[in-house]
Symmetry: D2
Subunit: 150 residues, 4 copies
């Protein structure tokens, strides 16, 4: 099984994570260079009701999810061939070591897209850079995540 053939499997695994479903996240774009995770506004995701904006935790969650998918994909891309069983094992061991989120503007909008790119790639640790925009292209947050991938 080639690594590009694995993308739908990785995508599906993240879409089915219970907390990602609670937030309404889905992987809307996925290639070996870039991943995008999307979600729609929901009143259940509000932090401060006076401002009617997304809770900071929602933003950190979706940035972490986008970065995690990209990190796994980056690590698998270094392999020439992966069996589904090994893929599952790899996904099971993958974890976030640390993440920083910078909140740039209030989380307002109808729909949101988090994108991630790899900035450090290794067989043990990967570092990703993530961004969150709304449907108008407003830049809401950036994040940097360090992931254990091997």
């Amino acid at each position: 099984m080639s690594t590009s053939a694995l993308l739908p499997f990785i995508s599906q695994a993240f879409d089915q994570m219970p907390f990602n479903r609670l937030l309404g996240l889905h992987v809307s774009h996925f290639s070996s260079e870039k991943v995008e995770v999307s979600f729609a506004w929901s009143d259940t995701l509000v932090g401060n009701p006076l401002q009617h904006i997304l809770h900071g935790g929602v933003i950190s969650s979706v940035l972490d999810t986008a970065g995690g998918i990209m990190a796994v994909s980056s690590a698998l891309g270094r392999l020439t061939d992966v069996e589904p069983a090994e893929l599952a094992a790899r996904l099971g061991k993958m974890s976030t070591i640390d993440i920083r989120t910078d909140y740039l503007r209030p989380g307002r909008g109808e729909s949101f897209v988090a994108s991630a790119q790899v900035i450090r790639s290794g067989n043990k640790v990967a570092v990703c850079r993530m961004e969150l925009h709304n449907e108008l292209g407003v830049h809401i947050a950036v994040g940097t995540g360090t992931y254990l991938v091997g």
Copy 2:
């Protein structure tokens, strides 16, 4: 209204935030020195289903919430007297500038407590240090958050 009399109001405001309710968070301890935010395990909070552990985003969310309450309280504690209307206005303007979360151990347990303490106190910016433990005292994560409070 003295600042200590404000604690129940602040506590209630955070308990009622829609996303905090979705996560099942509640402020379980609150004084001018320390705040604790608790929640019970729920299958909806799972990230990786193979490992059956909390999603990293849940952990960042609760740490951010605990830090935010502590930061607001710290800023209000500098005032000698606050009216409820000013309190509401202050809470509405308070926001997280940035947060770092370090995931130390898998998020397993029946119930969890996030605690926060102020490490830098100012009338414009406060910095808090947060920790997450489970009911057995296992140290799951630490965080550092910078908050706009004035």
Copy 3:
């Protein structure tokens, strides 16, 4: 005095900071959108002598310096007019609240350029994104800094 006329004053103030001189830093480009801080390789800046690469602290120092200049400039750009005395007072109060550095590749090269851009601009707090490259364009590190500017 217009804010653009202030750039040389800000630049000079940073060039003359004792620790920046110890590192051999100088402001090599400065506009209202972007700042660049350059320095040459020196054996005194080595961390691990086995690898003969820059000490991580050197990298954090130059990223912090570039971000700080950009943050000050951003805050001053919001004013229509600033007197030299007020500028000095502002520079004296400006401080870094927190900074994160991600080390992407070993710090090797003959000369290095740190660049900074503002990603959150405010009259109390500014957030900058910084990058370090060597003379061959190798991307060595990224950073994110939060600055108190008002």
Copy 4:
């Protein structure tokens, strides 16, 4: 050679790093649980001359150094026996992945001590928590560093 016998070798390796010498750092305490790195005030370490305080980069540098020593020591402590040649090889590969520094109070004092403790220990990655105090016990900064150790 037992791991405790290695402490002086590790300590010496860090003391001799060129940039640590430029800053005047020395390992003043070192056990398997805790490390302390000390340095004296010097006018060459000043950032803002108006405030006459330590440059933020000096603080990040010493926190990174203390965390790095602790991380290496933690990784070596997992081995029952290490030969000097392997130790040198390990030290040569060890590197900082990322670090966050929070500046809590101005860096004033006659002498300073940075201390570090391990908060996540692994055979690939270690995370340390660092603090900087002056000779009066004033808490100047905290940091969190993630290190590649295996």
